[in-house]
């Protein structure tokens, strides 16, 4: 039977990655991860360790729901969701971003966040958990393909 510290090192990457995906911010993801492992410590004697990391992810998910419930913005977002989407036809670049076989999923997301959602590289790095250098590399690769696809001359 593994000790608490062993379980922590075994599962923390998966738990934190999931927490980051549901929280979007490292500080909040650390809070959720911390709460999950504290819950594990409280239940260490009774829990079946074969259920990990699923059990930990469930704790994170439930804590994230609680966090969203506390957000005053929740209702506002919900109302915005039912607004009609702007009736604007998809430009060709949208299909290219979604369908280009040369792009990996992470490339597509970086391009979207950078050029549609206007995020800085640092903001993308925080969202993805990647380093800024990795983000820059993904963007450069995607940009090169974009230029080729749209007939822009290499400088």
């Amino acid at each position: 039977m593994a000790t608490f510290e062993e379980l922590y090192h075994q599962h923390v990457q998966a738990v934190f990655r999931f927490a980051l995906s549901v929280a979007g911010r490292r500080e909040l993801a650390e809070d959720l991860t911390s709460e999950a492992f504290l819950a594990l410590h409280r239940n260490l004697e009774s829990i079946d360790q074969a259920q990990l990391p699923g059990w930990l992810l469930t704790v994170v998910r439930n804590r994230a729901r609680d966090w969203w419930r506390r957000q005053a913005v929740e209702q506002r977002y919900a109302e915005r969701l039912v607004e009609r989407r702007p009736n604007i036809a998809a430009p060709p670049i949208e299909r290219w971003i979604l369908e280009s076989g040369d792009l990996k999923p992470i490339h597509r997301s970086c391009v979207m966040l950078r050029y549609v959602y206007g995020m800085t590289r640092a903001e993308i790095a925080r969202q993805t958990g990647l380093s800024e250098t990795q983000v820059k590399g993904h963007l450069q690769y995607a940009l090169t393909l974009l230029r080729k696809a749209h007939g822009v001359e290499e400088t």
Partner: protein, 303 residues
């Protein structure tokens, strides 16, 4: 949605020349999409039900939003070793705080419970000894203060003193078929005999009670003490063995101590030593056991 992030460099601007209109259309088209954080939480089914339903529906309908969040799911390490250690230190610190807090709560609970038990003991003493009590026999005069009997231990025997009668919380709150505490009524004659150093009677009465109250530690414990005073160490061991099985925290150290005495007197040095070592290194009042252990070792050293 801004058209150019603050850290856009020249290479990027040049690469995007001719695409501004399309990008502007894209931004306008997805202006009302849920924020990224909501999309990611919705993808993980981590939103409250109403919000989850709305975001889930959007994700089902929007290939764009699905592609966006799916691309963010990767297997790259998201915590470097330093951050991993820092987070563990944070969790460990919280656990340490909780342990301290729990320790204080236990101490505080004992601080509250101890006076309550004392009041309970006084109340029972008053009920048992109150002057107007109708009883068939007059109550015995207050027993003499328990004085350590003249158990002058021979060279290879551990000395022991007579413990006063005390009751566990379980006995004080014992309830049988009736609302009265029959246990205390049944124990009283045996304890009276014990207090008056009539160990023969105490042993006889407690032996009778041991089959009726097998889970009451007081029965076995004071039976064992009585047998020790009757110089019957081997049957005292049986009593203490039964007491060990049912003793709570308030009795276990005393049971172990007197059993160690009985074992030593019965010639079972290893059994005695094991209990003394446990008490010397693990109990809250180890002085008596440590001194006995030292005495035992010194005696063995001389042999």
């Amino acid at each position: 949605m801004s058209s150019h992030p603050d850290d856009t460099d020249r290479e990027e601007r040049e690469a995007l020349v001719g695409l501004e209109q399309q990008l502007d259309a894209l931004r306008e088209r997805h202006r009302n999409d849920p924020p990224l954080q909501l999309l990611r939480a919705g993808r993980a089914d981590a939103l409250p039900p109403e919000l989850q339903e709305a975001v889930g529906q959007h994700l089902a309908e929007s290939e764009w939003s699905r592609t966006l969040v799916e691309g963010l799911e990767h297997d790259e390490p998201v915590l470097d070793p330093q951050a991993e250690r820092r987070l563990y230190a944070r969790i460990d610190g919280t656990l340490a705080q909780q342990r301290d807090s729990d320790g204080f709560k236990v101490w505080f609970r004992y601080a509250l419970i101890t006076p309550a038990i004392a009041v309970g003991v006084l109340a029972i003493w008053f009920v048992v000894y109150r002057p107007d009590r109708t009883i068939s026999q007059p109550l015995a005069t207050p027993p003499p203060v328990a004085v350590a009997p003249p158990v002058v231990a021979p060279p290879l025997q551990l000395a022991f003193s007579k413990p006063d009668v005390r009751l566990s919380a379980a006995a004080l709150t014992w309830r049988g078929a009736t609302s009265d505490n029959q246990l205390l009524a049944d124990l009283k004659p045996a304890f009276d005999a014990y207090r008056q150093n009539d160990y023969e009677t105490a042993n006889r009465l407690l032996t009778t009670l041991s089959s009726r109250y097998p889970s009451v530690v007081e029965v076995h414990f004071y039976q064992g003490i009585s047998r020790l005073f009757l110089n019957d160490a081997s049957t005292a061991i049986d009593s203490f063995a039964a007491a060990e099985k049912v003793a709570d925290d308030t009795f276990i150290a005393d049971v172990m101590w007197y059993r160690a005495v009985a074992e030593q007197r019965a010639g079972n040095g290893a059994e005695a030593r094991a209990r003394l070592e446990s008490l010397c290194h693990g109990s809250r009042s180890p002085e008596r056991a440590c001194a006995a252990l030292e005495q035992l070792n010194a005696t063995l050293g001389r042999q």
